[in-house]
Chain length 430, copies 2
């Protein structure tokens, strides 16, 4: 690689603009570490005159990012638009085809088109780096590809979304309900003001789990249908009851190999307050790997925000500036296996079930009989009457059962007049 | 780098022999990830016929490791003898001079001669990698050099010695005294059977802190005199009293920049049971970095044993096989600064002081008056009489004070007939 490196940044939102400023600020340090002089020669965004936190050099501004390649020789391109398709995909494709290295924090793009783009990078002998796409400032991808490279990883899981972890932590701490805490998160910049749906429904964490699986198990990114649940249905009441039981609700992403099959999921879990994962609070992210021979490894850090994201983007930059071309998934496209999906029906968990029922004789036995019929043993029952409203809340913690069995068992409660709402189900982490 | 890579392993103790087996087992996986075929062409140890966990190929055995270079073309040499000088230094020097890449888990060697050897590697344009020298399987060096490369790190600290952490954890859990738990640790292979001194007195953790400092702050390895205390003087009584106060004793290594000066230390600390670091138990290690813009990052994992160590040694191997030459400390020898040491006298802490005194009137006021004279305010006093022996234990938690002030204040208690022993001092982590 030559000594003067031309850089383009496409997308000048919160991440792109912070990166722009960091690159300008850290030029000298980067030169000291790599011997390369970097220069931002092109930037692009939808709006040239938008008010931004840092001033941009308008002389290098392009409205259409695709025209950059025609007028400037680019060595490394940062894509920070963030779409899974559209212009994000187009610009990355075009760059790789033109033998330009690409760095992106775009998890949606990588989770959807990562295999295709990695293959394209490999064919064109350039780098495609995406450390910032998973867990913000935590260098988890590099750790799997390099630090734990020869380990056999069997499981990787963790708290992969800072927005939801903040909301769950804050609800427990302040006793405020979901909607109120969500608004606070939006004001603080922890949740997107317009459409926080992709964080809340688990989609964001799920994209990260897909990427982590592929890296951990040396497989292609899976496309199979999985259990994906967010925190939209977690009520303050559940958090309070869990707390009394010494438990805490966490949105976990989990990926593991079960009998040679890949199981990936994102859903809320009840974890013990005494565990490590139960104490990762606020916007923090944590990723835990179980590998041989290394044992259990934990990485924790700030999972979102322009600072941590920019830290990861710059680590990708240094990796490119320092070394020769690296394979995006640490192993050649042709050597990454495909792996059969685990049958979700057979996923086994203890369950927390919260029923809202009419305060009538026989309702509890209706529930327990139904559970017994499906051989779901009860570990604990807590019944709290609400005499005034002639209602009661029944919380049941069950022993382990499969997804399909629980589903079949609970189906009846959809249309029972004494059961006021379909029961809330939260899996216990085991 | 050519496609067929010749490897030598010098030192076939617990680590070397495990590595030997792992390399043979993982040849194919390594080839898939790097395209390089590795072959162990030379091994060396003091004793050819010692009983070992894995069979060795005696045809490639050398009694004198220095003769290897004359008869074989070596590309990568593993040094796993473990001395800070002597044959360890000699073999690494010779290898680097012969343009052979070196990988070592030898923290004593790197902490003492790391600058000299790194410079030698740089001059000869080969790699010197030592990921396994700090925190076993945790890829902390790579994370600092690459994952957090452009961050400004101000502080790095953690639990860096598994032996002492196991002993402290076990004493609290079982109520057994230091000597008994140490024996158990030796039986389990967590402490060296012959001479566990270097673990217990903080020397091992201190070597690691020196290496971490140099990497975190881009400085030469410091040689200054530091506060280094081990856990030899921690009594079961201290652990019990701490526990009642919601505290736990941990041996921490700490390195930070204070007003542009480097402060490095290893000593037992009292940490709250509610903190993250207070819950890293057993043989686990944890390293916490504070950097900008990334914020706080935590890495936790198994800190010792052949499995985790071998995981790090192989990550170094893959780094060499995959890439071009990397600078041992992530930055050129000539660009690493020297940094003035912080004056240890000005180190500030709250203190836990345990006095064993005669149960006589006036003793408590003697102590408190002395503290008052040195303006050390008392936060908490717990006096426990031992009527039968006419003794009492007085535990005092102080507000913050400097090292020098505490030292001067406590000096008088060396020769007071009512003070039965010089007080035990443990610093509170802040």
């Amino acid at each position: 690689m030559k000594n003067n490196i031309n850089i383009a940044i496409v997308g000048l939102g919160q991440i792109g603009i912070y990166l722009y400023n960091e690159l300008n600020k850290k030029k000298k340090g980067i030169e000291a570490k790599t011997g390369k002089k970097i220069k931002i020669v092109a930037i692009s965004a939808k709006n040239k005159n938008k008010k931004r936190k840092f001033k941009i050099d308008k002389k290098i501004f392009y409205l259409n990012p695709l025209t950059i390649f025609k007028s400037k020789k680019i060595d490394i391109l940062f894509e920070s638009i963030g779409q899974s398709d559209g212009i994000s995909k187009k610009i990355v494709e075009t760059a790789l085809r033109n033998k330009i290295n690409v760095i992106t924090p775009n998890k949606a793009l990588i989770a959807k088109h990562g295999d295709y783009l990695a293959n394209l990078a490999e064919k064109n002998n350039v780098n495609l780096e995406f450390e910032a796409s998973v867990a913000g400032g935590i260098p988890i991808l590099r750790t799997i590809k390099e630090g734990l490279a020869t380990n056999k990883i069997n499981k990787i899981y963790g708290i992969l979304n800072g927005t939801t972890n903040y909301i769950l932590t804050e609800m427990e701490k302040t006793n405020e309900n979901f909607d109120k805490v969500l608004k606070k998160a939006q004001l603080l910049g922890y949740a997107e003001p317009g459409n926080p749906k992709l964080d809340l429904n688990g989609f964001d964490a799920f994209a990260k789990i897909r990427i982590l699986s592929a890296l951990s198990f040396n497989t292609k990114i899976s496309k199979s249908k999985c259990i994906m649940e967010g925190i939209q249905n977690i009520k303050l009441e559940d958090i309070k009851i869990a707390s009394q039981l010494g438990l805490r609700v966490k949105l976990l992403g989990i990926s593991k190999i079960i009998d040679g099959h890949l199981f990936e999921t994102v859903h809320p879990c009840l974890v013990s307050k005494n565990t490590y994962i139960g104490n990762v609070n606020g916007v923090m992210n944590a990723v835990i790997t179980e590998g041989k021979p290394v044992g259990e490894s934990v990485l924790q850090g700030e999972g979102a925000g322009p600072g941590p994201t920019s830290s990861s983007l710059l680590s990708d930059l240094l990796s490119i500036l320092r070394g020769n071309v690296k394979l995006p998934f640490g192993i050649s496209f042709s050597k990454r296996k495909t792996i059969k999906p685990f049958n979700n029906d057979n996923y086994v968990n203890s369950l927390y079930l919260r029923f809202e029922v009419k305060d009538k004789q026989g309702v509890l036995s209706l529930i327990t009989n139904r559970l017994a019929k499906y051989k779901i043993s009860v570990k604990r029952i807590i019944q709290t009457p609400d005499k005034k409203n002639k209602k009661a809340t029944i919380v049941i913690i069950t022993h382990k059962t499969t997804e399909i069995n629980a589903k079949n068992c609970l189906s009846i409660f959809k249309k029972n007049k004494n059961i006021l709402k379909f029961p809330t189900l939260i899996r216990l982490y085991s």
